[in-house]
Symmetry: C2
Subunit: 166 residues, 2 copies
Amino acid sequence: DERVIAGVTCDKNQALVAVLGMPDEPGSAAKVFTRLSTKGISVDMIIQSMGKEPHTNDIAFTVNTWDLQNAQGLMDRLLGDLGARSVEIDDKIAKISIVGVGMIDRPGIASGMFEALAEAQINIKMISTSEIKISVLVEKSNADKAVQAIHAKFFVAEQSLVDSKS
Amino acid sequence: DERVIAGVTCDKNQALVAVLGMPDEPGSAAKVFTRLSTKGISVDMIIQSMGKEPHTNDIAFTVNTWDLQNAQGLMDRLLGDLGARSVEIDDKIAKISIVGVGMIDRPGIASGMFEALAEAQINIKMISTSEIKISVLVEKSNADKAVQAIHAKFFVAEQSLVDSKS
Ligand SMILES: C[C@@H](O)[C@H](N)C(=O)O
Ligand SMILES: C[C@@H](O)[C@H](N)C(=O)O
C-alpha cells in the first residue's frame, strides 16, 4: 500500500462557508456559485451530501481565507432570494490531502488515512475524494499533527524497510 | 472558459450507501472504511459534510453496483459497534463529472455546470470536487440529459465558433 501514496499535503489558507437549509431543487446550487463567480471569488472544495430534512439541503465550500468575509457577505445577502435558512463559517480549518494515482480503488488507502487520524485523536470535520486524492478538513490546530500521523502511517513503514535492507 | 474543460464523463455503475447519525468523534470514519477494506470493497466517492445535529455526522460513499448488497449488509452489522442510527442506500444514481486542469480556480466553471443542470431541470443530489474534477450525483434517469446539457454549455459555444470560421 505504501507505494501508492505520492505525498501528504496541508493547506491552512482555506476557510469554510456553508449555506444551510436551501431548497433541494434545480437551480439552488447554480445561484450560489453564479453569485461567487460574478464576484471573482475562487472556490476550492465544494461538498454537498444527502439532505437531512426532506426537500432541503446544505452546500459547504472553501475559499481562500482572504475571501472569507466577502463570500460570507455575498451568501448572507443571497439567503432571501435563495430561500435558505442561514450561513455558517469556520475559519479554524486546514485541508489535509493524500495524493496518489489509482488510490481510491485500493480500499486500504482511505481506511489507512482515517486510522492514522483516529490513532492521533484527530476529529475529521469533512471528507471529499477523487480518483487521485483524498482530502479531509480538520481543526487548524491539529494540522501538523495530522500530517505527521498520516506520513508515519504510509511512509515510515517503507523507511524501516529501507533501513533493514541497508 | 470553454477550453478549460477536457470532457464530461458519466458513470451509471455506482450506488450510494450512507451511514447516518454516527458519533462525530475520532475513529468513526476509520471503523467504516476498515470494515469495507477488509472485505475488499472498493469505494469511489466519499462525502462527509458538516454534521446537522451536534456531536453526530453522516458519511456517504459510492460503491460499484455489484458491491451494494454486500456493503449495505456490512454497514448494517456495524451500526451497533459504531453507535450510528441507520444505513440508507440509493441505487438509482449516476455520477456526472467534468474534468480539466486548473478548473476549480476558475469560478465560472462550477457555476456553468450547475447552471446547465438547473436549466435542464435536473436536481443535484450530491457534489464533490478536486482541483481537476467536479462530480455531481443525479437521478440515474437524468444521466444522459445531464451530460448533454453540460456538454452543450461548455462545448457547443466552441463548436459554433468553429462553424462560423469554416
Ligand atoms: C441543493 C442543490 O444542490 C439543489 N439540489 C440543486 O440542484 O441545485
Ligand atoms: C464522522 C467522522 O468523520 C468522525 N468525525 C471521525 O473523525 O471519524
